[in-house]
Symmetry: C2
Amino acid sequence: MPTDYLIKPDPLDSRLSAAVTGMDQTGAPVETRVVTEKALTLYLNSQEVVTMMTIGDHPDLLAVGYLKNQNMLQPGDTITGIDYDDDLEVVVVRTERETNYEEKLKKKVRTSGCAQGTVFGDVMDGFEDMALPKAELRTSWLYELTKNINTTPSLYLEAGAIHGCVLCKGPDPLVYMEDVGRHNAVDKIAGWMALNDVPADDKIFYTTGRLTSEMVIKTVMMGIPILVSRSGFTAWGVDLARKAGLTLIGRARGKRFLALSGSDRITFDMDPSDADDEPKRNRRKGSEAAE
Amino acid sequence: MPTDYLIKPDPLDSRLSAAVTGMDQTGAPVETRVVTEKALTLYLNSQEVVTMMTIGDHPDLLAVGYLKNQNMLQPGDTITGIDYDDDLEVVVVRTERETNYEEKLKKKVRTSGCAQGTVFGDVMDGFEDMALPKAELRTSWLYELTKNINTTPSLYLEAGAIHGCVLCKGPDPLVYMEDVGRHNAVDKIAGWMALNDVPADDKIFYTTGRLTSEMVIKTVMMGIPILVSRSGFTAWGVDLARKAGLTLIGRARGKRFLALSGSDRITFDMDPSDADDEPKRNRRKGSEAAE
């Protein structure tokens, strides 16, 4: 069991899931837990940016990460305050720099994953300028990481129907975020990195979701050289990963994985037959579909 | 095997997936197939509405369904033309009525599923006025439907990492759409229903994805009284389904399912122990995560 998470899911937090009663296939009443979703409206200074549906556990990190990943918070920006109002369901990020994204907010792209609202033209400009650092991924780390992550108590294991993203370093998972929308889990990690000045070049990003174009773009924009998923690939995700030189690993379960880009960063230091199979009880339950 | 689909996936269509080579856990080269994504920019008359990422198989249905589900095409509207340009990656829907949604397009809500860009305020107005019809769901139909759908050749079974939605009537699946984003698969079905004047009150909607608020809202707006998924629930999805009187069934796999709303429409006409278990080879492969 990992002992070294800096942030991890709190599946016992009663605000994040709710008990509901229903009927099973025999007509018998049953009780189950389902994850909650709340609206959260984000302002950057005086401008309303977006309303997000989130489990609501880290509104400050979500707000900052969203703005970073949209290029609305820029590298030199100083954040002067983050105000969150639980009752109003509003979070306001204030910066020293005056901001106005009215034109940007008009332009919407509906991506294949869960990042509509991504202002794609802008993001792609940045994407093409990114150079990812040299880095190493030992297969022994990969096996240790996926095993640790899959056995960490989570809302997923408690209630299903939720996405997880984990920021890792070497064999250690550091920050594990969950949310109803995977884009929120990514943005919460980006927010944590931004607010804590965490370097990206020695990190590995793990996601439960598919390796879509959106996921690849976000990882590259965060400067992280290695992206790992238990799910599959899309063609455009693979294409962008190859253009950016991102190490892209999918279908990572038990002994198996598949690298479709950047396999030069992989060090095969462990015999796959020595890795554990994925324990059946940890397989994702209420939700097996794509992404 | 079902023989009665009106539209079903064409996993052999070479435009919809691509062969890519990579490296497996032993360092050996492997070839796999991944689904493709293309940009498609939608215009309603002279106004640019949104750019979608789609597998690209039914741009006309996707366009009309998107506009219907966004309330931009209204019940009395006459469509005078749908022009699709493959090279420009543009689809234009023309209506008799002059349209202008500039104000609406400014307002974005980023939902938990895959429907950012949904103009949520407007959609909720309609939602509260909807009254879903009486209908029946026999458990024998449910078992037959899920078995048929799971054994239908699909891009999912071919390449993974894709969502499926199926419009059904009684025990028969009618229209089976897949797309990288589940919102697109839903919209293609809505477009097909709109262009073919298909009544909704005797239909069952099946999805591979999670039963989020977005999915519930779209199903209710389409007037379909029963929504079934192999995936799990979110709390807000359950809440909205109960408000709308939608029959909401999740985790439908093999013998098992769970109804969290509208179970009065269910007729338990089959002993679950007589239903088949889900065959292991049909379990979703490259992609088990939430939604």
